[in-house]
């Protein structure tokens, strides 16, 4: 299977006031690939993926998805193009039940009397239940409000939401922050599993062990620029940490 270029971001710059969050950053993603993006806080990792997911607009540069330039990305368009994102905050609406959150933004509908579209709550509940059990996550009910869930469960719902619609690119921004060790391994397994199903993943994480366990390639950002873009097999955690913080070793 030849590898295709799924995503190409060229010379991306983003400035907030007089803070340059990203300076001329280049990034690309191939099919069947897991890329890790690492860097210190405020290195620009979240900013970069938010530009790709359409949550933020870049100031200059070009974005190509499947070879086509995208000038007006927004969250809905990104999803249509097959890019799903799990944000650091999970982007879940606490007051709403699990099944609604999973389908938020693209709720399933049915037509009554053949004309009027109304929500198909039963179908959403069923599909949510199936999906969560497939991911080996146990919930007693998908009608519970998200507010009542634990951190790990929330992450599970957020990830379930993003894989339900068969994305081609999955972006995970710090999916294991605040999770227990067992849950972390769960997430790592899911990511590896998705790769075997043909889904490429961009993984942002502070857990260097997770990065080394799952990724094929590592990109290091520092103060808004790319300082390294290398195959994981060629690297060691020492090198990566040095690049992250700009420390030189002997």
């Amino acid at each position: 299977m030849t590898d295709q270029l799924l995503v190409k971001m060229e010379n991306i710059t983003k400035t907030y006031g007089h803070i340059e969050a990203l300076k001329d950053v280049n990034f690309h993603l191939m099919s069947n690939e897991i890329v890790g993006i690492v860097g210190d806080n405020a290195a620009g990792k979240s900013t970069l993926i938010k530009i790709l997911s359409g949550a933020i607009k870049h100031d200059s540069g070009k974005i190509f998805i499947d070879g086509q330039e995208q000038k007006f990305l927004n969250p809905a368009l990104s999803r249509k193009l097959g890019i799903e994102t799990v944000y650091q905050t999970c982007a879940l609406v606490d007051n709403l039940p699990i099944y609604t959150n999973i389908f938020l933004g693209r709720l399933l509908k049915k037509r009554i009397f053949g004309i009027f579209p109304i929500l198909n709550k039963n179908l959403m509940r069923k599909e949510s239940w199936k999906l969560l059990h497939l991911m080996a996550i146990n919930f007693d009910s998908v009608s519970r409000r998200v507010a009542d869930l634990s951190g790990g469960q929330r992450q599970a719902v957020a990830i379930a939401r993003s894989i339900f619609f068969n994305p081609r690119v999955l972006i995970l921004d710090e999916p294991t922050a605040g999770l227990a060790v067992k849950e972390v391994k769960n997430i790592e397994d899911i990511v590896l599993n998705l790769k075997s199903k043909g889904i490429s993943t961009i993984l942002i994480s502070h857990r260097i062990e997770s990065i080394f366990r799952t990724t094929d390639r590592i990109v290091v950002l520092r103060s808004g620029t790319t300082v390294m873009d290398e195959k994981t097999s060629n690297l060691s955690s020492n090198i990566v940490v040095e690049k992250m913080f700009g420390i030189k070793s002997n």
Binding site: P75, V93, L119
Partner: protein, 318 residues
């Protein structure tokens, strides 16, 4: 919003009715009850618009002014020889226009809803005065007056209109994607945006609906009194907000439903009716209304507290 919250309020309403009925015989007379329902209907229609706005995390202080503006401009058309339907469409158009303006100020210019709708409050009422040149219009055609004074199958038109609007919007809120989006935007607008919900569009539509419902209430009000005046309705925004909150919605958004608002409308109307029957001066009426709002807030807080404690103790909420 759970069933028990609605039942709590329903219970309060029933207790109130029993209490007043006990103190005053005239309360339970059919004529009086129909009167209550009619008045509550008007308030509820405004309340439905306000519920949508508050659920989305906003607020609309302009509904009284939009009501007045729409009915006054519409009245000018109704007084001509043009068909009544054109006058009615004018009323609705005004409501939609005001709502659209509110929505644009809030989403595109980013003026906080409180200020934007507050400015509309001034502008709507001021323009109504200016265009009517301080006059009051009356003497409308019977087809128009039917909306306020007529009845269908024995039930007064305002009540029927109210029930229809309630049913339509209950379906919208509970069974459409738009309804879910309203709750999402009100609970967590950032997350809503990140999942692809068009927050601006949703917000503008909500304010348009609020304007439309205010103008509809204006239509019923004018038809009932056979008078279009730029001076009425100054207290409507606060009344509408009061019934929405009495109905159990959260002021910051994301929680609440229409049934609760309806019960709130009945509670306030029943109270005012009871106080009028017992000849309690309007001086004290404000006092009592304020007291009820405070009582319900305390009850709401206790209810939240009890739910949290139960969750803590038993691991599941009631």
């Amino acid at each position: 919003m759970k069933i028990k919250d609605i039942l709590l309020r329903l219970g309060f309403l029933l207790l109130l009715c029993v209490f007043i009925g006990f103190l005053n015989d005239n309360f339970t007379k059919t004529e009086n009850l129909i009167n209550i329902l009619r008045q509550a209907s008007l308030l509820f229609i405004l309340g439905i618009g306000m519920t949508l706005v508050i659920l989305s995390g906003g607020i609309d202080l302009s509904n009284g002014s939009v009501l007045v503006f729409s009915s006054c401009i519409g009245a000018l058309v109704l007084k001509t020889n043009l068909p009544t339907i054109l006058g009615i469409l004018t009323i609705f158009s005004c409501g939609i226009a005001c709502g659209l303006l509110n929505g644009i100020m809030i989403t595109k210019i980013r003026i906080p809803p409180f200020i934007a709708t507050f400015a509309m409050l001034f502008i709507g009422r001021g323009l109504a005065y200016i265009i009517l040149q301080g006059r009051v219009l009356f003497g409308f055609k019977p087809e128009f007056l039917f909306f306020g004074t007529g009845a269908f199958l024995g039930i007064p038109m305002p009540i029927i209109c109210c029930i229809l609007i309630f049913l339509i919007f209950s379906v919208v809120l509970g069974f459409t994607a738009f309804g879910v989006n309203i709750y999402a935007v009100g609970s967590d607008a950032d997350s809503a945006r990140l999942v692809g919900i068009n927050v601006s569009r949703t917000t503008i539509v909500i304010y348009i609906l609020s304007g439309l419902l205010s103008s509809f209430a204006g239509l019923l009000y004018t038809a009932r009194l056979d008078t279009a005046s730029p001076m009425v309705g100054a207290s409507f925004p606060l009344d509408a907000i009061a019934i929405v909150i009495i109905g159990g919605a959260a002021l910051q958004g994301g929680e609440g439903n229409l049934a609760g608002t309806g019960i709130g409308a009945l509670i306030i109307t029943v109270m005012q009716n009871g106080m009028n029957l017992m000849a309690i001066s309007s001086l004290w009426q404000q006092f009592v209304t304020g007291g009820i709002i405070l009582t319900l807030i305390v009850m709401q807080k206790c209810s939240t507290y009890i739910t949290k404690r139960t969750l803590h103790i038993t691991g599941s909420s009631l």
